[in-house]
Symmetry: C2
Subunit: 431 residues, 2 copies
């Protein structure tokens, strides 16, 4: 069967997969990619559409042009090979899927490839070779800076350098995998020597995950104007942090055990094409801030390089779940809290010659909005653990306790367009 390509991706189009048309996250305008398995355990690429998952390799006999190699590349335990095909290939796949799922005439051929989402297991979307965590949330950087360095919260390099560091890729897990509370060295300020034990200041960090698509060769930087075409899409990232371990270990080389015990990502990769309607200008820098250096400056990127995506964090304690209480929202904020655009992160990361590879994870850093209720971590909400947060059932928290579940969500909406969502990034803390 040959597909006639439809490049418009009509924002009002309806799918013959009816659950998609009222779905808060996965209408046909979204089409996020992920890795799933069914009873036989075989991991392969799929697409979320309403309450269903579309099995990409199962389309190999349906899509014979314009997306056919992509569907074959999705017959793998990760999406690395697929996104390494590049932005044009991703667009072609999206276009083919959009047509298949909106044109009733394809229903008979495609329906056998639909699997109820509640019957599949989701996995990490990529084999992550390298994980880099940036620090683009200037309000978070300022808040944390005040706690760790009261006299010097925002260092002089912050507004010039997209600050980032290398994280641990081996301990990245998909949403739903329990997080074991780490042990490590801590030193309370008035103690002479450090002690060892389970972290008492376990925190979440609300971040977005930026996934690298096509990579670059070692020694060949990606220019800012081309940077976005190297991004496959985004997910939600919880960069769990043990604040007490961090405070003692992080100088002079940065966080290590405080972060490397676990990081959680949501399973669906929302592509840059799906996000196109929600692009906005990079918020203007405050008066007096320096302009980005030329290698980070691109007019197109400044005009459209930010995303109007809203993020939320909820907590559900063991007591709340026992009582049947709904999760409690701790904070919410926009992704425009990023001081740097996604393209600037890619350009900066590669400017010295470092090679990015398909499936590399770039964390945005904790995104705190700068407004009350927009704090992206408990250490900010509780003012460094000094002001406990009261939950609706009377429980209080400064940091996370065993049994707590943290749930992050994100979505984009705009007049005249369907709302699209990123799904959930959730995990329970265990002792």
């Amino acid at each position: 069967m040959t597909i006639e390509l439809d490049f418009t991706h009509d924002p009002n189009a309806k799918s013959w997969v009816e659950s998609a048309n009222r779905h808060p996250d996965f209408p046909v305008q979204n089409l996020p990619l992920g890795i799933f398995s069914t009873a036989d355990g075989r991991r392969r690429g799929g697409v979320a559409i309403g309450d269903m998952v579309l099995d990409l390799p199962a389309l190999a006999e349906v899509i014979t042009e314009g997306g056919c190699e992509q569907v074959l590349a999705a017959d793998a335990p990760n999406l690395n090979a697929l996104v390494d095909m590049g932005a044009d290939a991703m667009w072609a796949l999206r276009t083919a899927l959009f047509t298949l799922l909106t044109d009733e005439s394809f229903r008979e051929g495609v329906e056998p490839a639909l699997i109820p989402a509640d019957s599949v297991t989701m996995h990490l979307p990529f084999e992550v070779h390298d994980y880099t965590d940036f620090y683009t949330g200037i309000h978070h950087a300022t808040n944390i800076g005040k706690l760790f360095r009261p006299d010097n919260p925002l260092l002089p390099n912050y507004k010039y350098v997209p600050i980032g560091y290398h994280g641990r890729s081996s301990s990245i897990r998909v949403s739903g995998v329990e997080v074991k509370r780490p042990s490590g060295q801590t030193k309370v300020p008035d103690a002479d020597v450090p002690s060892f034990g389970p972290s008492k200041r376990l925190d979440y960090e609300l971040e977005m995950a930026i996934w690298v698509g096509q990579g670059n060769d070692l020694g060949e930087p990606i220019p800012i104007g081309e940077a976005e075409s190297h991004i496959a899409g985004i997910s939600i990232l919880n960069d769990w942090s043990a604040r007490d371990l961090q405070a003692w270990e992080y100088q002079p080389l940065g966080p290590f055990l405080a972060k490397n015990f676990h990081s959680t990502v949501s399973p669906w990769v929302v592509t840059m094409d799906a996000l196109a309607p929600y692009r906005v200008a990079q918020p203007p820098r405050p008066e007096g801030d320096p302009a980005p250096l030329p290698y980070l400056l691109d007019a197109e990127d400044q005009a459209h390089g930010a995303l109007d995506v809203q993020m939320e964090v909820y907590i559900s304690t063991a007591k709340m779940r026992e009582a049947g209480d709904a999760p409690h929202r701790l904070s919410s904020g926009p992704m425009t809290a990023m001081y740097w655009t996604m393209a600037q992160l890619v350009a900066h990361h590669s400017v010295g010659g470092c090679n990015l590879q398909a499936g590399d994870l770039l964390g945005t850093g904790t995104l705190t909005s700068g407004e009350e209720g927009g704090e992206g971590s408990l250490i900010e909400l509780s003012k460094g653990g000094k002001q406990p947060i009261e939950l609706p059932n009377g429980e209080t928290r400064t940091f996370l306790e065993d049994g707590d579940e943290v749930i992050m969500t994100a979505f984009a909406e705009k007049d005249g367009f369907a709302r699209i969502g990123l799904g959930e990034c959730r995990a329970v803390i265990v002792g």
Copy 2:
């Protein structure tokens, strides 16, 4: 053919591969593992023996017991699967190879698997999933600390925490691959704003590479007493560093572009079994230093956990090569400059639950001996770039110039035992 195991690994044994018996690096007592290819480009595991490389997969019909699965696992483009079999399997393979290469009766069967070393191409020994760089060289940490933080060279955590940070795995290359000088942001102290351009303070760092063998599961720390059995072996590591980029970017989250443009490792992995004769006690901590916390303390490790390995760094400038001059030795020092043992690094890295995987690279950090002539980097040799080093041909260096080749070697020797070497870790800087 069945091999009778010989567990003694006689230090005086000679090989029928005659070049091994007078070889400074690769006598039969060494048997380091690496990945090589010949004209057809197929990468597979090999062992250095004298001037030859033993093709491991080619032994599949020779070794039918005691090493047979290992030889099959070596038929791969990296050694990850082989070392993931664990310490006992590595010992069994070594024992089988030792017998094959010392017992003349196996010569006829084995000789066809020997390939002249000068006709093969060496590759990275592992697919490196994660690279962690430690900072165990206390003299280096003190020297660098003085330059970056004159008032506070060695931070209070140094003697409690094996300080380390996550590095970039994608840009690790094998010895011999040219290193492109990185560009990036720098800010000279008296400038108001940073500028962008090629690094002017490009440096090497003399480190040893510790390769992880069998890994651990997420959330399951490796106890100190078992840590060494998770180490496959060691190579030499040059952790190239752009000091000017580093000074401007490294706070508060550690080095990033200053290090991630390239790291070079030597191709041969000298196993823990080969290093057994050169084990020594961890040097006693200076009077007044705290004892390691219990999770890092093991009597056996303190008694035998350090290695008496000598390291050397040479420079060969373009002019020197044109004139046919020999490389000039810049410094030398012992691996016992490590403030922490290899086992302590493994135990610390995993104590919060972080999972290590076969082929992970742990850098020791720059190993400076603490004595004149034992500086492991140019920034130390040139006192922060203030005192140029004069080379024998009259050239001077504070940092590396284009065309400079840096060559690192390492070896172990001891009365009554063969000298074994790690080969070379070398690369030329290009602009």
